[in-house]
């Protein structure tokens, strides 16, 4: 899938108020015409769409929504598709590969098309000693969900790579209370080991700040 040498390619964009991480699961309810068309096309052509975050910046010009798109996004592959009504699809997709958004342009139907360059997937990186406890805990949570047969509703998708920094840091970034801006910084961080370090720092710093405020 990693095809970094190819020239920039164009993909439909789904700007959201959240971040999709590689191997993460995202459930989307689709009802706007532009996205119904996009999903149909992705299914027909077996292609992916791009999830980018909308980061509100008070200084940007409201006229151009694309100015608030995050610079890094993730490709989403549709896994589950349920057309409950002609104009209402329940979908479940998962993140595959990160990309850099080079430019974006809106089409007549309102759909944004992004010109992107794919980013390298995380190298497999073992969990360092200081994060072993956290990855073990994540593993235990996944076991509970599996043993209670709740995987269908859970934000985890096999394979569970609990001994890999990239996979663990991405799942933690999804689960933990981290701001959208910080999540985007985490997504942009190419070293999975550093991403894992940053997550613990963000959580412990927040805690310190809360304690100081109370």
């Amino acid at each position: 899938m990693t095809n970094l040498n190819s020239s920039p390619r164009k993909i439909p964009l789904f700007p959201l108020g959240t971040v999709l991480f590689p191997d993460g699961v995202i459930a989307l309810k689709i009802f706007e015409a532009r996205y119904l068309d996009m999903i149909k096309q992705c299914l027909r052509e077996k292609t992916e769409f791009g999830v980018v975050s909308i980061i509100k910046n008070p200084n940007t010009n409201e006229e151009d929504a694309s100015l608030s798109f995050s610079k890094i996004g993730t490709l989403a592959q549709i896994e589950d598709f349920d057309p409950v009504q002609p104009a209402l699809y329940m979908t479940k997709s998962f993140g595959t590969q990160r990309f850099k958004l080079l430019s974006s342009k809106q089409e007549a139907n309102g759909l944004w098309i992004g010109e992107i360059a794919l980013l390298e997937n995380d190298p497999i990186t073992p969990i360092p000693e200081e994060h072993q406890k956290t990855s073990k805990l994540l593993d235990e949570i996944i076991s509970v969900i599996q043993s209670q047969d709740l995987l269908g509703d859970a934000p985890f998708k096999r394979p569970f790579k609990v001994d890999d920094c990239g996979w663990v840091s991405n799942r933690l970034a999804e689960l933990l209370p981290i701001s959208l801006i910080q999540k985007n910084h985490l997504l942009a961080q190419t070293n999975p080991r550093i991403r894992l370090d940053l997550i613990s720092e963000i959580i412990e710093d927040d805690d310190l700040r809360n304690q100081m405020m109370h």
């Binding site: 956290t134 235990e140 509970v144 599996q146 927040d206």
Partner: protein, 287 residues
């Protein structure tokens, strides 16, 4: 299918009987000790918080040599942890939600049993189970543990005023069991607990109780679930207790992660248990 598995695990955990709790349906209109508007009804209805709080209160109680001695010498606790948890769960259910008669019956029974319990702790110091200071220790640690668990695992959280209200309500129950001058606020409860710190001891007996709790999950078919609940119980301890147990204070990340894990399983569990004691008791009061 899932509902049944959860119900089975929970019945197994507290050793309770099967079937709906019909004993709580009568007599009609009886509001029991607290009534449906009480905070006690709200807090004690949340099974997940009660299991988590139950584990932390057992840990805290084990740290007091004399409170522990009573259990050590006179209860089947060490052989039958499930049974003991089941009896505690029944006591809480009957006193919180039961009719006046049901509540008084179990309180009298416990008071009668306490009269016969006395001996010496592991240091040879004599104790009696009717000692108000020991009864207060059990009451204080239990109420604080339940409340802290509720505040961590249930939304919406109680306001400060509602938290104080909980201690005010529970003070009545604690004093019916022989404790005296119990605090009626959160702050008062925390301070009262801290006044016991010099008396606490983490010795061989307490260690074996902690070991018992650590091993507890392996008795279950749904071991991962019980293990997560048990971990949440340890995270729910006040920070001085981690030092006392010579365990590292859990990091914020660890706490939040356990919390998230519980959240992910809480909805189906709460759903499976929705027609429990509290629901039957509402029907008794309101028809």
């Amino acid at each position: 299918m899932l509902d049944e598995l959860i119900r089975k695990t929970i019945r197994e955990m507290v050793g309770g009987s099967s079937g709906p709790p019909v004993a709580f349906l009568n007599p009609k209109g009886d509001r029991g000790l607290f009534g449906p508007e009480s905070i006690a009804w709200r807090v004690h209805a949340d099974f997940i918080s009660m299991m988590i709080g139950g584990i932390s209160s057992l840990v805290l109680q084990a740290l007091h040599p004399q409170a522990l001695a009573g259990v050590w010498d006179h209860s089947s606790f060490r052989k039958d942890l499930k049974g003991r948890l089941g009896r505690t769960a029944y006591f809480i259910a009957a006193t919180t939600y039961g009719s006046h008669e049901m509540a008084h019956e179990i309180i009298d029974k416990v008071n009668r049993i306490h009269k016969h319990i006395h001996g010496s702790d592991e240091f040879g110091k004599p104790y009696i189970a009717t000692d108000p200071r020991l009864l207060a220790w059990v009451h204080l640690t239990e109420t604080l543990s339940f409340l802290e668990a509720y505040q961590s695992y249930r939304q919406p959280k109680l306001t400060r005023q509602e938290q104080d209200q909980y201690f005010k309500e529970m003070k009545v129950l604690g004093e019916m069991l022989g404790a005296q001058n119990l605090p009626d606020t959160l702050k008062g409860t925390q301070e009262a607990i801290e006044s016991y710190l010099p008396e606490l001891h983490y010795g061989e007996r307490a260690k074996s109780i902690i070991q018992l709790l650590d091993d507890f999950p392996s008795n279950f078919q749904s071991k991962p679930f019980v293990k997560l609940i048990s971990k949440a119980g340890f995270n729910n301890l006040p920070s001085w207790a981690h030092a006392e147990l010579k365990k590292p204070i859990p990091s914020t990340l660890e706490k939040i992660l356990v919390n998230k894990g519980i959240d992910l399983i809480a909805i189906p569990i709460r759903d499976a248990l929705k027609d429990g004691v509290a629901a039957h008791s509402y029907r008794r009061v309101y028809g």
